[in-house]
Symmetry: C2
DNA sequence: ACAATATAGCTTCCATGGAAAACACCGGGC
DNA sequence: GCCCGGTGTTTTCCATGGAAGCTATATTGT
């Protein structure tokens, strides 16, 4: 509207143009939003993972450590809770904990009351690591978001919040199991 | 601003609230945008994959068929081109083509001039399938986007386009290799 | 012409995560 | 008290894709 500067068409625009030629019967406009959203999400994930890697963490491990850290002292949670918070299956959580335990960042012990249950706890090293990693992570997110003005960021957040509310089944039966993960840190 | 209706805090808002308690030294505002963007992308991917599944296709296979279809008649491309278009490694393309070939949707033959090269072509069955699947896919995208008003969708597209332009390395050295894929169809 | 290098595709190995079965234990009904 | 269904965790098997190395062919430099 107010920015006559015509940027060269991006990847998504080029794909849309080809589809319009090959399938003129279809209105591919939604790709403009959905395609770019995916692309942005992919690029962001890539950048975020680069920071995790500095601490020798994969996205999954970072998520588990963050979920434990959010629990507050003494930084403990059951595997099932971790699965719910990180939106992956409990099987995936088992493996993530295996890796973190091997790295000395968490411990696993039997639950006191319910002998089926387990308690995963951050070790001092794990606590120290996730605090450093999360600080760096948030700094990174600020940088990535710096490409937008505060007003744009606020607008984007409002739009996404609204869409999300209408997209997400109200009852929390949301699938967290697609290729991309939850990963809010 | 103009919508006093206060929705209950969503998943991301709740996580932010906890972080503010545990790490009051950090400004976790960026999570509001980045976290929700990831969540929306995940949900969308999930819905999109559900449609692919109706045609017995995974996301990767759908992407390859779509890339071939976009090539226009006679619907042929070299594996390397397919890798570039779908933003995955050539190794991944080899496997996708293996699966598609097994399903009778594409054929693989030696290139005429360069004997290192190969030509992947849509079979009539593949052409027919991707045309049906893509039609359904676009219908699905329209539905998913129907949760936004046309004005909201336009705003969102503009914001994402701008962010993407500033996020994507100008020279096209973009990473397509993070957990989530490109998948513009 | 021939060696050195680059390129296209493929193969091997590895990492991650889902689905479902297997376990171990809890709790209720009888 | 004991069987039985339910629940928390782990295990097994499988699918997908990346990284790096391999093979065959093309290209370049001398």
């Amino acid at each position: 509207m107010e920015q006559p500067a015509q940027r060269p068409p991006d990847h998504v625009a080029r794909i849309q143009a080809v589809w319009r030629r090959e399938r003129p019967d279809l209105d591919v406009a939604p790709q403009g939003v959905i395609g770019r959203l995916h692309r942005v999400a992919t690029l962001l994930t890539h950048e975020l993972c680069a920071v995790y890697a500095r601490y020798d963490l994969g996205e999954g491990e970072f998520d588990v450590l963050a979920a434990l850290r959010r629990a507050g002292a003494p930084y403990e949670r059951a595997p099932g809770e971790l699965a719910a918070h990180t939106m992956v299956t409990t099987g995936a959580v088992t493996k993530r904990i295996d890796r973190l335990e091997r790295a000395g960042l968490v411990t696993r012990r039997a639950a006191a009351e319910d002998r089926r249950g387990r308690v995963v706890a951050l070790t001092p090293a794990g606590r120290e690591l996730i605090d450093r990693a999360f600080t760096d992570h948030i700094r990174n997110e600020h940088e990535l978001l710096a490409a937008l003005t505060p007003a744009e960021a606020a607008q984007l957040e409002a739009l996404l919040t609204g869409w999300l509310a209408r997209l997400e089944p109200a009852d929390g039966t949301a699938p967290g199991a697609a290729p991309g993960a939850a990963s809010t840190g």
